[in-house]
């Protein structure tokens, strides 16, 4: 029994991690239609930022302050990733809004460059981020241990989601963003500054990826190719949920997380992976526009 409860928690936890890595993509890809192959590299940037901050704390601040570096790392990772995202938007992505498929190719190039840059700056081997003491250990309830790190990530995801929801659906800035995606020319004819909106949205998506990277340091390795491990999953989730549908993204992430952990429990990681992806393929056959699919009246 406790195994199943643990496993359910694991599923939710995996789902929340998947959600976190997909969330940024839900903006750059889901909202802006940029097939951002460099999404994983923004996650990597977030992770390295956390590493750098940790080193800075170790070097320049007293031992007692170390525990707080991770709290600071979240906004810093967001900002660093957002700024690099901004730079890339201004220099490359900006020219590709009318050509979503080309964005795939260009961002592929970006991802190659960012990976190699990380390798040049930080060296090829992995670096380690040591979790602050207060994140070690876990909450034991009725014989089931819920690691604090996982609980922390779940919390972080919830906060990010709420903020994102408010931004997308309750602010005029979010509305402008959707308008620009739907019809760039018309939005600009109405007085919406498309360039500003684009930059902002891409920076936001990149920044959220940075947060994901920051939290992934708690669980896995930090190396130049960190992002490649997550990119496919992120796309799957956004698409399975229904492109442009934040709610769908949430459902999809949780569904995949839980499905994957439970299949793995009774089989193996390999079979779980096959089952999950086969499920995605079959599900989309049944609901071609995803969990929360859009029905549009237009002919094409």
């Amino acid at each position: 029994m406790s195994i199943l409860i643990t496993q359910l928690f694991n599923g939710v936890s995996l789902g929340s991690i998947l959600l976190l890595i997909a969330l940024g993509l839900a903006i750059t890809f889901g909202q802006m239609n940029i097939i951002n192959m460099a999404h994983g590299e923004f996650i990597m940037i977030g992770a390295y930022t956390t590493y750098v901050l940790q080193q800075a704390f170790i070097q320049y601040l007293p031992q007692s302050a170390f525990g707080y570096y991770f709290i600071l790392a979240i906004p810093v990772a967001f900002i660093v990733a957002a700024l690099i995202g901004l730079l890339i938007e201004k220099s490359i992505v900006r020219f590709l809004y009318e050509r979503p498929l080309d964005s795939l190719l260009a961002t592929w190039g970006v991802s190659l460059i960012l990976q190699q840059a990380a390798r040049t700056i930080f060296g090829a081997p992995n670096v380690a981020v040591i979790a602050p003491e207060w994140l070690n250990g876990g909450l034991t309830l009725a014989g089931v241990t819920l690691p604090y790190k996982r609980l922390f990530i779940i919390g972080l995801v919830i906060i990010s989601l709420v903020l994102l929801f408010i931004y997308l659906y309750k602010t005029s800035s979010g509305r402008r963003m959707k308008a620009v995606t739907l019809n760039r020319d018309m939005a600009s004819c109405l007085g919406v500054s498309t360039r500003k909106v684009d930059s902002l949205a891409f920076a936001l998506g990149s920044g959220v990826a940075g947060i994901a990277g920051c939290s992934l340091t708690l669980l896995g390795s930090i190396g130049p190719t960190l992002g490649t491990a997550y990119i496919v999953d992120a796309f799957m989730i956004v698409v399975l949920g229904g492109v442009g549908k934040l709610k769908g993204t949430i459902f999809a992430a949780l569904l995949l997380g839980i499905l994957s952990t439970f299949v793995e429990l009774s089989t193996s990681a390999t079979i779980a992976k096959v089952v999950v992806f086969a499920f995605i393929i079959l599900f989309l056959q049944w609901k071609p526009t995803g969990l929360v699919g859009a029905k549009v009246r237009a002919l094409d």
Partner: protein
């Protein structure tokens, strides 16, 4: 309000508009007529900034427009109802209308939609939270017009705004146009195929042919035979 001189513009290699002159006076409704494919839509796109000017000048309220982006022009006070409606199909009607106010300075934007819009287009109020894309053709067209006039522009560009709208509302829109142009001093460029409709509400007409203005005159004075001659196929 708007002056166009020696304008040349078109798509990539092909120039559609050549040596075009035009003037839209303040507070007047100017009708623009011309057969299919003569470049009417091209002209408004150039005015709006969606297409580049190859040569010539466009002056709006004494500022010369060259490379201004559409949003900059919109904020200076022009609004556009494109041919083909171009509403945001995935946004609700409310959101579409709120976006119409983007051209206003931040302080002047409200989160409420002015009553008069709903008085003119009651259907929009009924369907306020439905997706723009779910509307029927004519409903979308009404939305496109409402979205343009909501920002109280100084100059309104209308590219075949009556297309697909039921007769009773066509009349209503004509009345509305006349009213806002009189009351608010709004200048209006109206592209229409229906000669009667143009003559009944415009102050002045232009006729475009082969990229040039071939006829221009006040509605009361213009020679209808000549008009028909240019509009014949």
């Amino acid at each position: 309000m708007l002056q166009i001189q020696e304008l040349q513009a078109g798509y990539d290699e092909t120039m559609i508009l050549r040596q075009l002159h035009m003037e839209i006076p303040e507070g007047k409704i100017v009708g623009l007529l011309g057969r299919n494919g003569v470049g009417k839509t091209t002209l408004v796109k150039v005015i709006m900034g969606l297409l580049p000017i190859a040569d010539g000048t466009i002056t709006f309220q004494n500022t010369n427009w060259r490379k201004e982006r559409p949003e900059q022009r919109a904020r200076q006070g022009i609004a556009y109802v494109p041919q083909g409606r171009e509403i945001f199909s995935d946004l609700t009607i409310r959101e579409n209308l709120l976006l119409g106010m983007e051209a206003l300075p931040r302080s002047a934007r409200s989160t409420d939609i002015p009553r008069e819009i709903f008085e003119w287009f009651p259907v929009l109020e009924e369907m306020i939270d439905r997706k723009g894309g779910d509307l029927s053709g004519g409903q979308q067209q009404q939305l496109a017009i409402a979205r343009a006039i909501i920002s109280n522009p100084k100059l309104l560009l209308l590219d075949e705004p009556m297309e697909g709208i039921q007769p009773s509302i066509v009349q209503l829109i004509q009345d509305v146009l006349v009213k806002i142009s009189r009351e608010k001093g709004m200048s209006i460029l109206l592209i229409e195929h229906n000669l009667d409709a143009v003559l009944s509400c415009a102050d002045e007409v232009y006729i475009l042919d082969k990229g040039k203005m071939v006829l221009n005159g006040l509605c009361d004075e213009i020679n209808e035979d000549e008009l028909h001659q240019y509009l014949a196929v």
